[in-house]
């Protein structure tokens, strides 16, 4: 049970050290590129940029990504486009809007099912393309912030940084992983589907002539998509079932590599931050704080989901439920059912509902904790089926949004807590707060707080709005607190640019010619789309500005009273800031959702 998370944390930590050295070497531009690659890089280099030019380039690039993605999805049904053998039509406009923003912001929240609604052309030219490019954006933003902190004359060139990240980091790592996935059985083809006869005759029903209906198994370039889906902490799967699908994640070995792949770059970038600043000890302190939080979320998730039974079974007493009965005077009759606790249901392996047994009992809980910590969003189990208190673990991971986090943006989010923590510490001891030798002034604190507050506002306000209206209440599939948790999770996932979900929420419209879409899909598409967009870019722009202003200041000499940032005390300060600020922001809403569900009536009855 514990060997999976322990092996993952150990191996990823060990490999993060040499990979961070390589990453720093690349982002510092110390490499010598082959001639052809150097030619491309020279063409992309529009010259050194200051923080504002860098941020503008970042935003303009993403605007181009939006236009490109919108056009590709809009044209999906066009007969002239290749690789659409299953004749997928156009997605519905709000689904296009939501999907484009989702992939552009590295969220990969999928209000559609890849195998049902997308052609292979869109999987390649929309999904995979966005997964490489959107993943690199956060990486580049962190690099710019590091150079600003170093008081470099300029913060680099956004386009050169994008090139470096994609060509020298993501592509080589994705190629290695793709070979492993192909070997383990993931499909890798441009064909759209295999049509097969099932082993069990008539399993897919029979035609009126008596001929057995064959099964259509959608296939495609799955082994090309999954590596970058995980390495780039994207999370958007080829199939709707994501990493629970037997072709997207065939074996326990691919499950291990899938989990490792989403952890490696977030771990690496924390250490790269320290290497590029020349303060590796400081980065190790930050790494340790994040490791403590990640271990906490993993242990919490495994303990409450794999080591505790499903409360729906253990708490269910004998009762009766009513079904329609035309023959009775009241139109209903009671159907008694016994106390489930007395039934011979073995629960010593915990809650197995929604789990893929080929991965082992704790794999679902481990993956659930890790995927939200690193803001990947891929899932290998049904998060809606997690025990209520276990579901707090993924939610907390999304709310804090700095436990390693996405590549680059997780470290950026932690820097916001760090600046606030140093500021508070400075106030407490009566000294001007300083970070990296630069005095933190009002402007830096304002920018850090604005960036920090975007996330809770984008979660709590829409959750409240949807919970108070039919937009939310008619979309939930479970009563009471669990339904509230479904809504809360959706907005938390959108704001954290995570992309996982408590499936069961009716948010899917899908294809434009869908005759029975979820009734509230349109408001959910638009609301989560806007949340993803603002929660992605505002907390990137403000920290780049903050770093730019901080970098322009003169360095203050290190003195006896300077707060050291590479000590145990600093780690405790950082951890305390994260936990206290996070708790103040989100404890009330946690009480309304998963905590209420745990202590109140279980989901099966009133």
């Amino acid at each position: 049970m514990w060997s999976l998370p322990i092996s993952l944390l150990l191996v990823t930590t060990i490999l993060a050290f040499p990979l961070s050295r390589y990453a720093a070497w690349i982002m510092n531009g110390k490499y010598r590129a082959p001639k052809l690659l150097h030619w491309f890089e020279a063409k992309l280099n529009s010259g050194p940029q200051n923080w504002k030019q860098y941020a503008v380039s970042l935003l303009v690039f993403n605007i181009m990504l939006f236009i490109y993605g919108f056009v590709v999805l809009w044209l999906q049904g066009w007969s002239k486009l290749p690789m659409n053998d299953l004749h997928r039509g156009m997605l519905e406009p709000t689904t296009i809007f939501n999907s484009v923003i989702s992939f552009m912001t590295n969220t990969n929240l999928q209000h559609y099912s890849g195998d049902q609604h997308l052609s292979n052309f869109c999987q390649i030219f929309f999904c995979i393309a966005n997964q490489f490019l959107s993943a690199a954006v956060g990486f580049c933003a962190l690099s710019a912030i590091i150079r600003a902190f170093r008081s470099d004359p300029h913060v680099g060139n956004f386009f050169v940084d994008m090139w470096r990240v994609v060509v020298y980091m993501f592509v080589p790592c994705a190629l290695i992983l793709a070979v492993i996935f192909v070997q383990q059985g993931s499909p890798m083809t441009f064909n759209a589907a295999n049509v097969v006869s099932t082993l069990e005759p008539g399993a897919m029903s029979s035609a009126t002539s008596g001929a057995q209906t064959q099964q259509t198994i959608v296939v495609g370039p799955v082994a090309a998509l999954v590596p970058i889906k995980m390495l780039g902490t994207n999370g958007g799967g080829f199939y709707g079932m994501n990493a629970a699908h037997p072709m997207e994640n065939p074996t326990a070995l691919t499950n291990w590599f899938t989990t490792f792949a989403m952890m490696i770059f977030p771990f690496t970038l924390v250490l790269m931050y320290g290497r590029m600043l020349g303060r590796l000890r400081h980065a190790v302190v930050i790494f340790s704080v994040m490791m403590l939080l990640m271990i906490g979320t993993i242990v919490w998730s495994i303990y409450f989901d794999t080591m505790k039974p499903n409360p729906g079974f253990t708490a269910h007493t004998a009762a009766a439920y009513q079904v329609p009965d035309a023959g009775s005077s009241s139109g209903k009759r009671d159907v008694p059912f016994p106390a489930v606790a007395g039934l011979p249901v073995d629960q010593h392996t915990g809650n197995l509902e929604g789990k893929e047994m080929r991965f082992g009992t704790s794999a679902g809980a481990t993956f659930a904790a890790v995927t939200v910590d690193v803001t990947c969003g891929a899932v290998n189990c049904e998060h809606d089926a997690l025990n209520p208190v276990a579901a707090l673990s993924p939610m907390v991971g999304m709310w804090l949004n700095c436990i390693y986090g996405g590549k680059g943006v997780g470290m950026i989010n932690l820097l916001l807590f760090l600046i606030i923590g140093i500021f508070i510490a400075g106030q407490m001891v009566g000294r001007t707060p300083e970070y990296l030798g630069k005095k933190i002034g009002g402007r830096e604190v304002k920018l850090a707080l604005i960036a920090l507050l975007v996330h809770p506002i984008m979660i709590l306000m829409p959750t409240g709005l949807f919970a108070a209206t039919d937009w939310g209440n008619k979309a939930t599939s479970n009563p009471g607190p669990h339904g509230f948790s479904q809504m809360l999770y959706q907005f938390s996932s959108a704001s954290a640019n995570n992309g996982s979900a408590f499936d069961g929420l009716g948010v899917t419209y899908g294809l434009n010619n869908n005759t029975s879409p979820s009734p509230e899909a349109v408001p959910w598409d638009i609301a989560t789309g806007l949340v993803m967009l603002f929660s992605r870019y505002l907390p990137i722009i403000a920290p780049i500005a903050m770093a730019g202003y901080l970098g322009m200041k003169k360095s203050a000499p290190f003195g006896l009273g300077t707060l050291r940032d590479d000590t145990f005390t600093f780690g405790v300060l950082l951890l305390g800031t994260i936990l206290i600020v996070g708790a103040l922001l989100f404890l009330p809403v946690a009480a309304l959702g998963p905590v209420a569900e745990h202590f109140g009536p279980f989901p099966f009855g009133g």
């Binding site: 939006f66 603002f534 722009i541």
Partner: protein, 31 residues
Amino acid sequence: MNLAIWLPAMFALGLVSMGLCLLFLYACEKI
């Protein structure tokens, strides 16, 4: 769904939202 209304509307909504992010960038300069 009336595609002639919804498609351009969603496209415009995305561009306007990104424009707001650009405005936010300029606002950060003024802080």
